[in-house]
Symmetry: C2
Subunit: 204 residues, 2 copies
């Protein structure tokens, strides 16, 4: 896990005379935000600090992200994208197991902890709930649907199975243990999620 | 679904000269609290109101329940106990389906909404998180473990399956859709949870 650069040693990009393309500026901002959120959580994430580190104006940041929460979620989504990417080794069970272990690792970082707090706050904050779904959870669900649908097309999952339900029985089950920690998230738990679902728990 | 009695028409128990047994008083209090929480949520649940309706002193309430949250959780647990009780028709799949439908019904009440808000707040409030686990979630898990273990002993679930994981893949999956509502909780979803888990999703 990489840690956030110390702000004092981080060099903001020099602002040249020419305008940098918006896409590039946006990617820089998301990289800065992602590093901070993963390493520290969101308590000390401010528009001012991000503006300084990414070498962009606060006006630009506010134009693209209406709130600190939106900025944090967008940065987090991009920061975990590679870690949470699905392998495709033609063995969906192995790929899911591998991804679930990575996911549990990410959730154990300050960034993962911050995500649980955002889910928590969103129970009483409809704007944050909408931002969370738009900027994080719906995108993550889509990526899982794609991988599971590919497995179904290849015959690794039965045709009559609704892959949307599997998302709740895999990652949703992990979120449940994280949000209500009566039982721990262990490697054996993660493997059992996949085995139970693919093999079924009834006698064969 | 019964609604809370209107406070103005609710008659507090007359306080006789003799002392009522503590168990009886406790049961009365929990009944009053449960009715309020299910019908309204917890926003207007106060020690004063409960003391008045149950005919007990606030001192007694404070002695038994250290906080409003603890009182609400204890009352809620008892209020839903019958609705969420597991049938035992010797067909665990049918019994689970039936219970999951009841559970989704309870979660759609103001009391269920309040429960989600407690889970939300408990992400940043360690005392509330501990109270939630002690007074609600660990007890509900135990009841599910009992029912699932009985099914395993009867051969409806394989011996090598850890029934604790099934709780997260059934009720945990429902909580996930409630806490992060990207997808709705429908009857088809509830049935699919049981079918996926018992039959497995791999081709047979």
């Amino acid at each position: 896990m990489s840690t956030a650069q110390d702000d004092r040693t981080a060099r903001p990009r020099p602002r040249g005379r020419g305008r940098r393309p918006a896409d590039e500026v946006r990617a820089d901002v998301l990289a800065v935000v992602g590093r901070i959120v993963l390493a520290e959580g969101i308590a000390d994430l401010t528009f001012e600090r991000v503006a300084r580190l990414a070498g962009v104006s606060r006006t630009t940041l506010h134009k693209w992200w209406p709130s600190r929460g939106a900025l944090a979620l967008d940065g987090y989504f991009h920061a975990v994208q590679n870690t949470l990417a699905f392998d495709d080794t033609q063995d969906v069970r192995a790929d899911l197991r591998h991804q679930l272990h990575s996911f549990a690792g990410v959730m154990a970082t300050p960034g993962g902890r911050a995500l649980l707090e955002i889910i928590g706050t969103s129970q009483t904050d409809a704007d944050l709930a909408a931002a969370y779904r738009r900027l994080y959870s719906s995108g993550r669900r889509e990526l899982a649907y794609e991988r599971l649908t590919r497995a179904r097309e290849r015959g690794e999952i039965r045709d009559d199975v609704d892959v949307r339900v599997l998302v709740d029985q895999l990652w949703g089950a992990v979120y449940h243990r994280l949000l209500v920690p009566d039982e721990p998230v262990t490697p054996a738990f993660l493997d059992a999620l996949v085995d139970n679902l693919f093999d079924g728990v009834a006698p064969r």
